[in-house]
């Protein structure tokens, strides 16, 4: 039978790093608390019999947030055969608090003191043998990031699990230990033998959930209560505090015998000095804005330093403009597939054009992900959450809502899941509803296309997309917080700030590659299929009453017919092309009026927007297929597609509105699935999707009509009035006096809501 070993420890103590090293897997590691929100399993390298579980980081077994519940549930109910407790050696006192709780579970345990390299560098010494002895289990030294001692720690944990012995030390003072003993007697038979100490402590703390679960008789509860009260009276404190304080006293005693500090630690570290600047009340936000501007400018701007854009231009113009189509021309020619045949069209105009349009953006994406990964690994992003807390809080949101937003700049799905670190249920739901406003990796091609085709590669387009995302989260927070369902104070902000460190090359490259690779994989699967579908629908249609390939049929039509098509579509006759008679154009033309007030009511942009539901990259993939029509020949390079795109957005502001709508509207199906899982409720899921789409529509309409009018790109009309009305409505929702809940009446925590 397989042996199950659980990795448990404080947030940011290096569990996932150790997990990756032990199992050879590539789980994402980030330098902030709460990166792992779900437990993940893997098998130990070199021993298929051993299963390793990576648990979300927790400070204690008394659950405060949802991811703590996940860990507690697993440890208490699923009971692994052994626990490998990772302890951050640089903050050993706080970390051992959890250790004292884990020891009570009666599961064989090994304590791995991590970051020993840093401990030694500071000049501190840990007597690992004495530490283990005092804790009642084996202790080992490791440096997970450097791979020192990892395998040995796992081997010891496996050995301990096989031996199956657990001998927790007496942590508490005599009177408490005596009371625990008596409580254990009362619950004998009601709880598993090896969990008896854990339950006794929980009962002593009057843990409501445990009291309710055990269903003890009134007699026994009375006897237990008398024991607790006697101790409380003697110590003049409540039972929960007694337990907490004595745990720390025990730890202090253990450390006094096992740890020698180099001393003279007072004085600010470099980390502290940096923090004083980057979290400064006045400078904090501008610094963050400048950092993000540089990140997006380097990845997606049109400057001399914008290496991402250079790569993408090369990919679009040369690789997917000449080499790949040329290569397929040669292959198809050799196979005897004639140009102009259905198969040729399917491969060149469908797959190559669609997938190529998406893959062309890989360089920009890799550069962006690389820069973001560096910022994360240094530890800057957790400071940003703290800086943003001050701003978010004024709008009734916690800075913790910002972490999901940061994660969502990679992909919305982990972003949605990261909302589990939020303690308050309303805030968690609100964050799930708004976090996909952030521009995820798949939306980058949309930004890149709009910036490149319509705005001459201005870096401001990408930067604005980022801040439109944040702005939408903040404004939605303000608006929604005024409704009864979301009203109330956000939970207070408490977060550990990891020390800054030099980014690990392996970590940064892994994070970059993982995100980039999932993008490329999707381009090879979902995007291929969607591009084929789009190509079929755009190539076949009814021309003048005959069904078939529109290109072929189009050769026989007369001017009068072209004129009638032009009239139907409300464009001039020389703009009409064969594709305008395709099935896709038919569908698109029906829906297009919906988007006309937003400035992109042409069927191509409409269809692209809808295909964005499959995957946001497909918006650009669709453009690649649909705008690839110039002349008989395939476009020579990306610029031609861009010219065609530009022609469809006569007012540049319409292009911007198109981007806004596609960035903010309902996310892709996969993300909708994640929202459904996190909301765990159909009504809330639909509310979230409906809200996002409505928000996107309103914002895009205001941008096109009102901003367009101001810039002189859009004429005054009925739409302008609607635009101003919506703007007024938006302002009203922002400034109106919201619902004020009764004091403390609606402070349901995420944990309570999940029960």
């Amino acid at each position: 039978m397989a042996i199950r070993i659980a990795l448990a420890g404080n947030p940011n103590s290096g569990k996932t790093t150790l997990f990756n090293s032990l199992t050879g897997s590539n789980q994402y590691v980030g330098n902030w608390p709460g990166v792992t929100v779900e437990k993940k399993g893997g098998t130990l390298k070199g021993n298929k019999e051993v299963e390793i579980q990576d648990l979300p980081g927790i400070y204690s077994l008394s659950p405060y947030t949802l991811e703590e519940v996940v860990s507690r549930q697993y440890l208490v109910t699923d009971r692994p055969d052994g626990i490998l407790n990772i302890v951050d050696g640089t903050n050993i006192e706080r970390n051992l608090y959890l250790t004292t709780q884990l020891a009570e579970l009666g599961i064989p345990m090994v304590v791995a003191v991590n970051m020993m390299d840093l401990v030694r560098k500071k000049g501190d010494r840990i007597d690992i043998g004495a530490l283990g002895k005092a804790l009642g289990c084996e202790a080992v030294e490791i440096a997970a990031l450097k791979g020192e001692g990892n395998q040995e720690a796992a081997a010891k944990a496996v050995a301990a699990a096989k031996a199956g012995k657990a001998a927790p030390s007496a942590v508490f003072e005599e009177d408490v230990e005596t009371a625990l003993q008596k409580i254990s007697e009362q619950i004998k038979g009601s709880v598993p033998e090896n969990l008896s100490r854990w339950y006794a402590v929980k009962l002593f703390e009057r843990d409501e959930k445990v009291v309710a679960d055990l269903k003890l008789s009134a007699d026994r509860l009375g006897a237990i209560e008398r024991e607790i009260e006697a101790v409380e009276k003697a110590q003049d404190d409540d039972s929960e505090s007694i337990i907490t304080n004595q745990r720390y006293q025990f730890i202090a005693k253990v450390l006094a015998g096992a740890v020698k500090k180099a001393g003279g630690k007072h004085g600010l570290t470099v980390s502290d000095k940096v923090d004083r600047i980057v979290t400064n009340r006045i400078l904090g936000l501008p610094i963050f804005a400048v950092v993000m501007f540089l990140v997006y400018a380097i990845a997606m701007g049109g400057w001399a330093i914008s290496i991402g854009t250079m790569g993408t231009n090369f990919a679009n113009d040369v690789i997917f403009g000449e080499w790949v189509p040329g290569l397929f021309d040669t292959i198809l020619g050799a196979l005897g597939v004639a140009e102009g045949s259905v198969v040729y069209g399917l491969i060149q105009d469908g797959i190559v054009a669609g997938v190529g349009a998406v893959l062309g953006f890989v360089p920009q994406m890799l550069v962006l992900f690389l820069l973001l990964a560096i910022l994360e690994d240094i530890g800057y992003m957790s400071r940003v959450a703290f800086v943003m807390d001050r701003i978010f809080r004024q709008f009734g949101l916690s800075g913790k809502s910002f972490i999901p937003c940061l994660v969502a700049t990679g992909c919305g799905i982990p972003g949605i899941m990261a909302s589990r670190t939020i303690e308050n249920d309303r805030d968690r739901k609100l964050t799930v509803m708004t976090t996909t406003f952030m521009p995820c990796g798949a939306k980058l091609p949309i930004i890149g296309l709009v910036a490149g085709a319509i705005f001459g590669e201005s870096p401001w387009v990408a930067v604005s997309a980022y801040f439109i995302g944040i702005g939408s989260v903040v404004l939605s927070g303000i608006i929604l917080k005024k409704f009864k369902a979301f009203a109330g104070e956000p939970s207070p902000f408490v977060m550990e700030l990891p020390a800054y460190h030099v980014p690990s090359v392996g970590n940064v490259l892994r994070a970059t590659w993982e995100r980039g690779w999932s993008f490329i994989k999707r381009a090879g699967s979902v995007i291929v299929i969607s591009s084929v579908v789009i190509w079929f629908l755009s190539s076949f249609g009814t021309v003048d009453g005959n069904f078939g390939l529109v290109d072929d049929l189009w050769e026989n039509v007369d001017d009068a017919y072209i004129e009638s098509v032009a009239q139907d579509m409300d464009i001039s006759a020389d703009e009409v092309v064969a594709m305008d008679d395709s099935l896709l154009a038919g569908v698109g033309n029906v829906i297009a009026p919906v988007f006309r007030p937003l400035g992109f009511g042409k069927w191509r942009a409409t269809v692209a927007t809808i295909t964005g539901l499959v995957a946001k990259e497909e918006v650009v993939g669709t453009f690649g297929v649909l705008y690839n029509y110039e002349g008989e020949e395939l476009s020579e390079n990306g610029d031609e597609i861009w010219d065609n795109v530009r022609a469809d957005f006569p007012a540049a502001v319409g292009g911007f509105a198109f981007m806004i709508f596609n960035l903010l509207c309902a996310p892709c199906f996969a993300a909708i699935g994640a929202i459904k899982r996190e909301m765990n409720n159909a009504k809330w899921t639909w509310a979230a999707i409906g809200y996002m789409t409505a928000w996107a529509y309103v914002l895009a309409l205001i941008t096109y009509q009102v901003v367009g009018l101001i810039l002189g790109q859009v004429a005054f009309g009925f739409g302008t009035i609607i635009g101003f009305l919506l703007l007024a409505g938006l302002i009203y929702l922002l400034v109106r006096k919201g619902y004020v809940p009764e004091e403390g009446a609606r402070n349901l925590t995420s944990v309570q809501a999940a029960r």
């Binding site: 400070y59 706080r94 907490t244 001050r390 809080r393 104070e489 408490v494 700030l497 925590t749």
Partner: protein
């Protein structure tokens, strides 16, 4: 006095934790223990970064108000 009223560089002793049981418990678990010393790394209008044991903890003003401290004798 509440922790939020301290200034950068102060080293103070925790006297009392206030608020609901749940909040007090969580504060203890992340290292705020009565009798322990904490050092104020930065304080911008109540939003603070503190050295608590060996770690750095960021708190907002509301949470900082729940921690009563006294200036250290040392």
């Amino acid at each position: 006095m509440p922790l939020s009223m301290t200034t950068e560089g102060d080293s103070v002793t925790i006297v009392r934790l206030t608020g609901t049981d749940e909040v007090r418990q969580h504060l203890s678990e992340i290292g705020f223990v009565v009798g322990d010393r904490v050092t104020v790394i930065s304080n911008s209008s109540g939003n603070m970064i503190l050295q608590v044991k060996e770690g750095r903890i960021a708190l907002d003003r509301k949470m900082a108000n729940r921690i009563q401290v006294g200036l250290s004798a040392e």
